[in-house]
C-alpha cells in the first residue's frame, strides 16, 4: 500500500510497471490515470493544493478501507499538487486483486472518493480568469454507489 502526494510529474506506465513488479498471486490489476483536460482552450493551467499532514492520512485511510472492502492484495495512489498543465497526469490509482471485479471496483471506489471527498482544492486558470472547481453533481451521485460506506461519508 502506497500513497504519495507530490508536485513532480509522473509517467503512469512507469508507475504501473513498478506496481506490477511484485504482486503475489494477483489475477487482475486495474489502473486509473486522471489527465488534465484542455477543454478547447478553456483551461490553461490547474493549480492543486493539499493540506499537508491531513491529506496523506486521509487517503491512507481510504486505501485501507478499499483494501478490506474489495480484498485487494495491493493498492497505490499518487496525487499531484501544484501547477498542472493540460495533458499532464493529475492522479494515478492502481489496484490488484485475485479476481478482476474486485480490482475494478476497488479502483472505481478510490477514484469516486478522491474526486469529491479527498482534501484537495483545485483552481482552473483560463483566458477568462481563474475559478475554484467544486465536484460536479455527477461526482456526488457517483459516491452514492458505495452507500454501505458510512465511515467515509462521515468525512473521516
Amino acid at each position: 500500500m502506497s500513497v504519495t502526494v507530490q508536485t513532480d510529474m509522473f509517467d503512469a506506465g512507469a508507475q504501473l510497471s513498478a506496481f506490477c513488479h511484485d504482486l503475489p498471486d494477483a489475477g487482475g490489476v486495474v489502473s486509473f490515470t486522471g489527465i488534465a483536460r484542455m477543454d478547447d482552450g478553456k483551461t490553461e493551467r490547474l493549480e492543486l493544493e493539499a493540506y499537508p499532514g491531513f491529506t496523506e492520512p486521509w487517503i491512507e485511510a481510504l486505501v485501507a478501507e478499499a483494501r478490506t472492502r474489495f480484498s485487494l492484495s495491493a493498492a497505490k495512489v499518487i496525487h499531484r499538487v501544484g501547477s498542472i498543465l493540460p495533458g499532464e497526469a493529475i492522479v494515478f490509482v492502481a489496484t490488484a486483486a485475485r479476481h478482476r471485479r474486485q480490482a475494478f471496483e476497488g479502483a472505481d471506489f478510490l477514484m469516486d472518493h478522491l474526486k469529491s471527498r479527498a482534501p484537495f482544492w483545485k483552481k482552473e486558470h483560463g483566458p477568462d480568469g481563474a475559478r475554484w472547481i467544486e465536484p460536479r453533481q455527477a461526482d456526488y451521485q457517483d459516491l452514492t454507489r458505495w452507500s454501505a460506506d458510512h465511515t467515509l461519508k462521515e468525512g473521516s
Partner: protein, 80 residues
C-alpha cells in the same frame, strides 16, 4: 492561541492563508473573533460544505480548543 488556516476559495476571499488568534477558548469563540475582524468571511465560513479540522482531525459542532491548536477551514474538496 489558535493558528487558523484557510484553503481554496476561502483563502482567496480572505486574502490570507494563515493567521494566529490569541486567547481563544473554543471553536465558537474563534468563529466569533474571525467574524468580528473579517466580516466578509462570516457567511463563507458557515457555507455549505465547509468542514473544520482541529489539529488535523475533522470536528462537528463546537469543541474546546487547547493552546497551540491548528484550526483549518476546508471548503468543498475536489481532487483528481
Amino acid at each position: 492561541m489558535a493558528r487558523v488556516l484557510l484553503f481554496g476559495a476561502l483563502r482567496d476571499l480572505a486574502g490570507w492563508r494563515e493567521q494566529i488568534f490569541e486567547g481563544v477558548g473554543d471553536l465558537s469563540g474563534l468563529q466569533s473573533d474571525i467574524a468580528r475582524l473579517y466580516p466578509d468571511l462570516t457567511e463563507a465560513l458557515k457555507g455549505p460544505g465547509v468542514q473544520i479540522a482541529v489539529d488535523k482531525a475533522l470536528v462537528r459542532g463546537n469543541v474546546s480548543l487547547s493552546t497551540q491548536t491548528e484550526v483549518a477551514f476546508l471548503p468543498p474538496m475536489s481532487g483528481g
